[in-house]
Symmetry: C2
Subunit: 304 residues, 2 copies
C-alpha cells in the first residue's frame, strides 16, 4: 500500500492533476496562487480557495475565534494579492461541533467580516455542517486587469528579487493577525511592471523554489539581505517556516531601479531586495553572511 | 452559554449574515442555491460551495472513494442546476489523514473528474491539507443567461409545482450516485418560463418551505401525486429525508400546460406535478390520500 505521506504534497498534486481537461476559457489552472479565467474585455477572473483546520492551521486554545476568521479569509486575500488582483466575492463553508458555544461562530464571522470590510469583499454565501473539529473553507473570486496580472512563471534571469516584509517567526503570532498585502500588491502592479510574484505561505525557500520551477530559472539570494522577524529564531529556520504571508516578486533591472528610487524610500512600504534571478542551470544558491556560497534545495511547510 | 445546536442552522445563518455589506454588483447573496453576481451584458455569474465530511455526508466504509468524489461535485452541480445555470469552474479543497492509502485520493479525484467531464466543468485548482477525517469542499463558478436565471423567490399563487423525479430513500444509495439535474434544468429554462426552482437537498418539505418563505407564498400538495422511490419507506419519512437532489420548480398555469402537453409525455423526463402555489396566508397544506387536509410545518435535514 502506498500512503499519502509517502508521495508528498507536491507529488500528489501532480498525480491528481493528470487527465484534467480545461477548455480555452481557462488561462491558467492548477499551479499558481489562483486560477485565471477569461472574464471580459479588460479583466480576468481569479478563483482560489483555502481550507483551515483546527489542530493543523490553528489551535483552538491559542487562537481567538476572531483571529481564526480573519486568518481564514486572509490566506485567500494573500493569494489574490499575489496575482496583482482585487478580491471581490467570498463564500464561507464552516463546520463546527453542535455543542460549540455560539460565540465561536459569532467570533469567526466577526473576524471574516472585519477583514472583508477592510478590502471591500462581498460575502455572498456559504455552507454549514457539523464536525468534530472546526473546519473553515473560504473560496474567493477576484479580478485582475489583463495588463496587470502577475504569475509565478514570468521570472527572468537578471530580475531583482524583492520581499514585502520580514520573514520567519510567524507561528509565534503573526499568522493569526497578518494583513494580507492586497494594497501593496495593487500599488506595485499599478506603478510597475512585475515579472513574477507569489505569496510566501509555505516558507521563503519553498515558495521561491515554486517561482523558479514555474519560470524555469535559478536564483541567488543573500543571507544578510533577507530581513528576519524578531521572533524568527535561526536564519535557516526562518526561511523554511510557513505562513509569512509576505509577497515575493521579481522585476527587470530597469523597473527595479525605478522602484528602488521612488518606492523603497518615502513610500513607507517595507520592501527589501534579497537577490537575483539566474539562468536555470545555476539552481538556487545562497550566499552566506560569511561569503560562502551554498547550493540549496527549497524546503518549507508541506502537509504531506 | 448558548450552543450552536440550540439556535439551529436556519437561525444561525440569519444571525451570522447580519451586518454583511454587499455592493451593487451582487444581484443575490446569502439565501438561494447559489450567489448571483454581475458578469457581462448577457450573463450572470453563479457562485456556490458545499462541504462533504466523513461520518456526516458519507461513511468511509459504505461509500467508495469514486462515489465520495462524485457526490462532492454533484451537490454543487445540483445547486447550479437549481438556478437554471451552466457549471463552469471548480476548485477542490481536500483534507485526508497522512497515512491514508493514496488510492483514496486517486478514487475521489476519479469520481470528481468523471462527473466534471460529463458536464464540461473545468477543475482549475484547489487546496490540500491533513486532517483526522476526510473533508472535501468543492466551490463552483457557473453562469446563467440573465433571462433564464431562476430563483427560489419567484413562486406565484396559482403556479403548478413540479418535481423532476422520485422522492425519499436516497440514503439507501442514490445520494452516492445521483446525476445532478443540470441537463434537465437547462432544457426547462430554454423552453419554458419557470417562476421558481430549488434543488431538494434537505427534504421535499423543507426545501418547498424555503421556496414559500422566499416567495412569501403558501402551497397545497397532494400525497398521492408525490412520486416515492422504491426504498423510500413511509410517505412522511420520504418527504423529510435529505439528499434527493431532484429539482422542485413552479410555473404559471399556461406554461405548465405547455410543459404538460409537450414535455411530460414523450420527453422521457420524469417530471411530476405535486401541487399548487397558494396565497401566503394559506400556509403549507397536504392533502392526504384519504382526502384529509393537514396544515404542516416544513421539516427535513438540518445540521443543527
Amino acid at each position: 500500500m502506498m500512503r499519502v505521506r509517502d508521495i508528498g504534497e507536491i507529488g500528489l498534486i501532480k498525480r491528481l492533476s493528470k487527465g484534467i481537461k480545461l477548455d480555452s476559457s481557462v488561462i491558467h489552472g492548477i499551479g499558481d496562487d489562483t486560477a485565471v479565467i477569461k472574464w471580459n474585455k479588460d479583466k480576468y477572473l481569479l478563483f482560489t480557495c483555502d481550507m483551515l483546520i483546527e489542530g493543523v492551521h490553528f489551535k483552538a486554545k491559542k487562537a481567538t475565534p476572531f483571529q481564526i476568521g480573519w486568518k481564514a479569509l486572509g490566506r485567500n486575500l494573500s493569494d489574490i494579492a499575489a496575482m496583482g488582483g482585487i478580491p471581490r466575492y467570498a463564500l464561507v463553508s464552516i463546520a463546527v461541533r453542535p455543542d460549540s458555544d455560539v460565540r465561536l461562530l459569532d467570533g469567526i464571522y466577526k473576524g471574516i467580516k472585519a477583514l472583508a470590510g477592510k478590502f471591500g469583499v462581498n460575502i455572498v454565501g456559504g455552507d454549514m455542517a457539523h464536525s468534530s473539529k472546526t473546519v473553515i473553507d473560504v473560496s474567493l473570486v477576484g479580478e485582475a486587469e489583463k495588463k496587470r496580472l502577475v504569475m509565478r512563471s514570468g521570472a527572468k534571469p537578471g530580475d531583482v528579487i524583492f520581499v514585502t516584509g520580514s520573514i520567519g517567526g510567524s507561528l509565534k503570532g503573526k499568522h493569526l493577525k497578518f494583513t494580507p498585502r492586497v494594497a501593496e500588491a495593487r500599488m506595485l502592479v499599478r506603478k510597475y511592471k512585475l515579472n513574477s510574484m507569489i505569496d510566501i505561505s509555505d516558507g521563503l525557500l519553498l515558495d521561491l523554489g515554486r517561482v523558479l520551477d514555474s519560470s524555469h530559472a535559478g536564483a541567488c539570494i543573500f543571507e544578510d539581505l533577507i530581513p528576519l522577524s524578531k521572533n524568527a529564531g535561526s536564519f535557516d529556520k526562518a526561511v523554511s517556516d510557513g505562513e509569512d504571508f509576505e509577497l515575493l516578486f521579481t522585476m527587470g533591472e530597469k523597473e527595479a531601479n525605478r522602484l528602488i528610487k521612488h518606492g523603497l524610500k518615502g513610500s513607507g512600504l517595507p520592501i527589501y531586495i534579497i537577490g537575483r534571478i539566474m539562468e536555470h542551470g545555476r539552481g538556487l544558491s545562497l550566499v552566506r553572511a560569511n561569503g560562502a556560497i551554498e547550493n540549496i534545495k527549497p524546503k518549507g511547510y508541506l502537509h504531506f
